[in-house]
Subunit: 197 residues, 2 copies
């Protein structure tokens, strides 16, 4: 199942230059800005992985410029984001939903959940970031909590109410727009996140 | 400077099915096999990042299949490989050279070196893997050693002799073909790699 074409902008790198316009930015843009901010302040190195594509045909109109003329979107084998923070390997997937009542788990592939569990088992920090667009709220859900919910409830979506009670609300700021590492840092300080292996 | 079009195969996922043919495989294929092996044995989660491309035009001949008809290769902003091993964030770049006498540092972008140093500073393990194709030898060079060499020698290439003396030879095996994590593991046991922050 390939979601990209409708969900992500086919044109990359087009950012508005006015500050006010930023307020309407999507989660991916907000995370890019946040990660750039972390990098600049030398707090963490977290990057979005490139969109995976299968390249079929490449033209070489000149020596210097190769042009891909046929390619297809591929199902990603892992999550979209990973990196390092305070010596920890961090790994997460980020999704938006326009639902007011729940986040459908069909937004995640099973192998992505398996990947995050495997990372967590090795001493990494895995989570998902979910934005309820219409509520202007963005949450961080640790993979353990997500899996626990699925095991017990056997439901195919996370009710908004459950998220509100069990997940961490990421405070909205201008800089950085989605300060998810402040949430992770506080969970580390509280001892909520397992210690290193 | 974009190297991909000549260096990487435009067709992905075409592997020979005979075992003998594998012996002629390139470093990227060998690393893919090695990482798949690590994953299967639950030793580590390390993945190659997708090749970054800027997508310009997408056709939608049907609802289900989007076809990219114009895209260009992008300069990667980080390294090609990263993941988690024994709780450590690992991050590396892998290159082949056909030279018998040296490895040209122009194979690496300055921002890739900066990235690896920044990762190392945060408690991660950063290195490059260099294969001297004509010698059938593959080496692991820690970022610290690489940077130290560059600082002192101010040269634009690593002489083969220096690599032989200062880097770790990765033993060639059939399974996995490039067992670089055995080298990292032994460096960790010897205390050569810094401890976690």
């Amino acid at each position: 199942m390939i979601h990209y074409p409708n969900k992500k902008k086919p044109f990359q790198g087009k950012h508005s230059t006015t500050a006010f316009a930023d307020r309407g930015m999507n989660l991916e843009d907000d995370l890019n800005k946040t990660n750039a901010y972390y990098l600049e302040l030398n707090v963490a190195n977290v990057h979005k992985k490139p969109t995976p594509v299968t390249i079929v045909k490449v033209d070489y109109p000149s020596r210097s410029k190769a042009r891909i003329t046929e390619a297809y979107f591929k199902v990603p084998s892992t999550t979209d984001y990973n990196g390092i923070f305070k010596g920890f390997y961090v790994d997460f997937e980020a999704k938006e939903t326009h639902s007011l009542t729940s986040f459908a788990l069909s937004n995640l592939h099973q192998h992505q959940i398996d990947h995050m569990l495997s990372v967590r088992e090795k001493g990494g920090i895995s989570f998902i970031i979910v934005r309820f667009v219409l509520k202007h709220e963005t949450y961080l859900i640790l993979i353990d909590d997500l899996v626990e919910f699925v095991k017990i409830q056997k439901r195919k979506s996370l009710p908004y109410q459950w998220v509100k009670e069990h997940a961490q609300l990421i405070p909205y700021k201008l800089t950085p727009p989605v300060d998810y590492l402040s949430v992770i840092d506080s969970l580390l300080n509280q001892g909520v996140i397992h210690e290193k292996v």
